[in-house]
Amino acid sequence: MAANSQETILKKRTPIGTIITVVVLVIWIVWTLSPLFITAISCIKTTREAFETPEYGDWKGVLNIFRFKPTFIHFETLFKIEGFGPYIWHGLVCSLSSAIIAVVLGTLGAYGLSRGKFKQEANISFWIISTRMAPAVVVIVPLYYIFRRFGILATIPGLIVAYTTFNLPFSLWLIKGFFDDIPVEIEEAAFVDGDTHWDVFRKIAVPLAAPGIVASFVLCVLISWNDFLFAAVIGGHAAKTVPVGITELRTTVEVLWGPINAATIILIIPMIALGVLIRKYLIQGLTMGAVRE
């Protein structure tokens, strides 16, 4: 459907309507970006400069927010004193490994689920969806106990398994949706030409679903990298990730705002980049494929 005919949803476009639309959206964008802007600008200020706010009601004084000399002292503190380097590494290793496991097994499983006919299909589907719905804080109690018994608590493999508990059902279900979209006639034609199941899967189905599979992989990485709860409880010291590291900069004695702001920027920038990259699939991914743009 033509994009501009959508105007008719409420009323015909009028100049006043356009102005209101623009004003509202500009306000919303300012509201969206200002927390990010303030943190981004604070992380390259000295603590003293960052803590300077004008007198209450002194609106002109707001412009002082721009009066500073950029410094990277907080990033230095973060890596040299607080030792954040390994946390980034742990986060990368755990989220990438878990995403790979989830997407490889998920792609295979999703294809089977999409094309096969199983007696328990409805139940398997419900089970997969409900796994995604279980609150993390609930899942983590038995996981903690089991992991301790098996001795994988506070290890990197432990955290990878923990991430897989939510990544696998997620990617399985999402990728199934992408396979469902491929017309089966293409695959049937290949069968007639004498290809095996594996050939059809490898040469036809996977390439056609590739954008969706990549998007699922990126979403798995994004969710795992951003996770705090599993890393805090399961990861322990040996698999400490950036979100856990940040919370430790807030001690009972003092809050190290400079390094916290620097770490926040490190934590969010790569994920914003990834999110924009797969923007087309973001809503589909976050609604388990139920809503498409």
């Binding site: 639309t21 959206l25 097994l105 589907s125 089970w127 696998l168 469902d180 919370t247 999110g275 743009e293």
Partner: protein, 307 residues
């Protein structure tokens, strides 16, 4: 949903071997096996644990206590009170996010040029780690150098004191952070729904002389029911899922004013290390979530959403 009615999607040739599993069964097995191990097995353990006083020190045996953990929950005023706070947190956040999200969606839909760029900017908060969002707002609401605190003082809404340390304001601050982070999600879901409203119905209503408000209620809303239900349910699950922002911004305080049921579970299990009680607590929380998940699946089935 296609999962329950896949007859149109299955391959008609070579579908099943005469003996044993088909190809499709074999490729599904690894995922199902791993899922059984990492989801069903812990689920079973959670139920077992909820009936025990789970020993945390090595060498000490778990002690069977029957339903004592559940009885304990019913007597725990923090648990009961946690539901009240959770209801407030979830209810108010979602109401605001719904109204704002719908408005933003309508405005975005109204945008002729640059819609793509604006939408991308609007959805940035969704990609952030909840912990990061917590710190952004902890900083903004700080009573000596937070810019939002400064703003509220400057326009005269706030007279003195702190925000996150005040029993009346702490929950509101967390709600504001949640609204910031998740309104874009509902806005984008609703926008996807708006784009699918059939234009011929709108044209017909227009020809009948229906005013914009009537057209909205009679044509737009009925066409969006399923999208609205899905958006709201997913938002509901996620707001139950995450406790990160509360952990960062208030750690449940001041004086338990932001201690939701989900957050309290974290305290019970990983601060007091009462894993048995935590398991019972978690099981009750899970039952509520499963109830909602069932509703979710049923609604999707009934509406035949999108596919």
């Amino acid at each position: 949903m296609s999962n329950n009615n896949t007859s149109g999607r299955e391959l008609s040739v070579l579908h099943r071997r005469r003996h044993g599993l088909s190809f499709y069964g074999w490729v599904l097995i690894p995922a199902v096996f791993l899922l059984l191990l990492i989801t069903v097995y812990p689920f079973f353990w959670m139920i077992v644990m909820s009936l025990f006083k789970v020993a945390i020190r090595p060498g000490v045996k778990n002690e069977f206590v029957g339903f004592a953990n559940y009885v304990g929950l019913a007597k725990d005023s923090l648990f009961i009170h946690g539901w009240v706070i959770q209801a407030k947190y979830v209810g108010i956040s979602m109401a605001i996010e719904f109204i704002l999200g719908f408005s933003i969606a309508l405005f975005l839909n109204n945008l002729k040029r640059g819609a793509n760029v604006v939408t991308t900017v609007v959805l940035v908060p969704m990609m952030l780690a909840p912990v990061a969002v917590g710190f952004l707002y902890l900083y903004l609401f700080n009573s000596s150098f937070g810019w939002y605190y400064w703003f509220l003082r400057s326009i005269g809404i706030l007279k003195q004191g702190s925000i996150l340390g005040d029993m009346r304001w702490a929950l509101a601050a967390i709600i504001i952070a949640d609204v910031w982070e998740w309104t874009p999600f509902l806005a984008l879901v609703f926008l996807a729904g708006l784009k699918k409203v059939p234009l011929d119905q709108l044209e017909a209503a227009k020809c009948d002389g229906a005013p914009p408000v009537r057209r909205f209620i009679d044509v737009v809303l009925p066409n969006m029911t399923s999208v609205i239900v899905i958006g709201v349910l997913i938002r509901f699950m996620d707001i139950m899922r995450y406790i990160d922002k509360i952990f960062v911004m208030t750690t449940g305080g001041p004086a338990g004013a932001t201690k939701t049921v989900s957050y309290y579970l974290f305290d019970v299990a990983f601060r007091f290390f009462e894993l048995g009680r935590g398991a019972a607590h978690g099981f009750v929380l899970l039952l509520v979530t499963i109830f909602v998940a069932l509703t979710f699946v049923n609604v999707m089935k009934r509406k035949g959403v999108e596919r």
